[in-house]
Amino acid sequence: MKEFDQFEEFSNPIREGRKQRKTSRQNVFTDMNAMVDLAFLLLTFFMLTTTMTKPNVIELVMPVPEDHERPEDVQAVRESRALTIIPFPDDELYIFRGLAVETVQRISYQPDEFRAELRDFISSTEEPMVIIKPHPESNYRNLVDIIDEMNISGVKRYAIDDLRAGDKAILAEAGIELLGLKDEVDE
C-alpha cells in the first residue's frame, strides 16, 4: 500500500495539496484470510484428485486367423526356431523350445531368470520366434508381463496362440498338471 501511495504521488505531482489529507487516512487492508483458505482448500482438492500418469498402450499385431479354405496362408514355424511360453494360473510359467519335452522348465517372472532365458534363446537361434500360449485360467497381467518382456528384450516376432492338444501333450509328458485342461476337447 505504501508503494502504491508513493507511486500516486510521483505520477501526480500537481496534486501535492492532497498529501496533507492523505496521511490522516488509514491504509485499507483487505482481510484475505478467507480467500487464502479457499484457495488452499481448492489446491489440496485438485492436488489429490489429479492423476498425472496417463495410461499407455502396448501395440499388438495379431496374425491373420487360420482360414480353412486357404490352408496355404497358414504360417508354419520351424520348431527349431520356436520358443513356447505358457503362463499358468497362480503366476506359474512354463517354457519349452521347439517340441522337445526335455526342455520343458518352470521359470519365474523375475527378470534375472526370465530375461536371461529369453536372451539366451535369442542369441542362440536364427530368426527366433516366440509363441505365447496362455492357459485359459491364467490372468491378463501375466500376458502383459510377457509381452512387455518381449519388447524389452527386443523379440521382434512373437504371437499369441491357443494352447493346443500338442502343447498339452508335451506338458503332460513333462509331468505337469494341466489344471482343468485335460478334459477339454480340442477342435
Binding site: 484457495a39 481448492l42 492436488m47 499407455n56 527378470p111 491378463y140 509381452i147
Partner: protein
Amino acid sequence: MARNRGQTKKTPHLDMNPMVDMAFLLVTFFLLATTFKLPEQAKIELPYSFSEVDIPETNLLTITVDRDGLIYLSLSNHESRGPWFNRMASLYNLEISSAEEESFIQLPGFGMPLEELKPYLLLERPEQLMQVRAGIPADTANNELADWLVTARSVQPGLRFAIKADQLTPYRHLDRVIKTMTANRILRFNLVTEKRREDEGI
C-alpha cells in the same frame, strides 16, 4: 506497512499477496491438468508395462473386460456415437427414438445386450448407475460385440481399438474378445497399461 510509527497498538499485517498469487496459480494449474474421470462402469486395475506409447485420445474404441469377464464398450468420438447406434439398431431391426439416441450419445460407455440397452437409455443417470451389470454378449451363438465393432469401424474411419482389462481377468475372457476381433479382421490393437516405474521389477 507493518511498521506504523506512532500507532503501536495496530496489529501487524502480513502481505499475503505473493502467497495468494502462488496458491491461485497452482489451483489453476491443477484445475487445467485434471481430467475428470467419468464414473466408470467397471472397476479396472490396469497391469503395468514399460511401454512408452501414450494412449490415443481420439478415434479410439475401448473394449473393457472386467474381472468377471463382462465386456463394456466406449467410443471416444461423440459425433460418431449417433450414427453408430443407428446402424447397430437397424442391423437388429430395432426402432430408436431421438431421445434414446441423444441419451446414447451422452453415455460414456455401456455394457449390456442391445435389448437391455434401449430401456436403460431412458433412465435417469443415478438409476443407470444402479443397474445390474450384464456385459455385451460375445459368445459364438450371440456375438453382439462383433457387430458393435464392425459398425463402429464403418462409421468412424481410422478407428483404433484398445483392450482394457483388469490385472486378474482370466485369459479365457480375453480370448473371446481377441478371437472376435481377429475374426473380423481387426488384427492391430492396443493393450492399455499403466506406466511402470524403473525401480519396480517385472
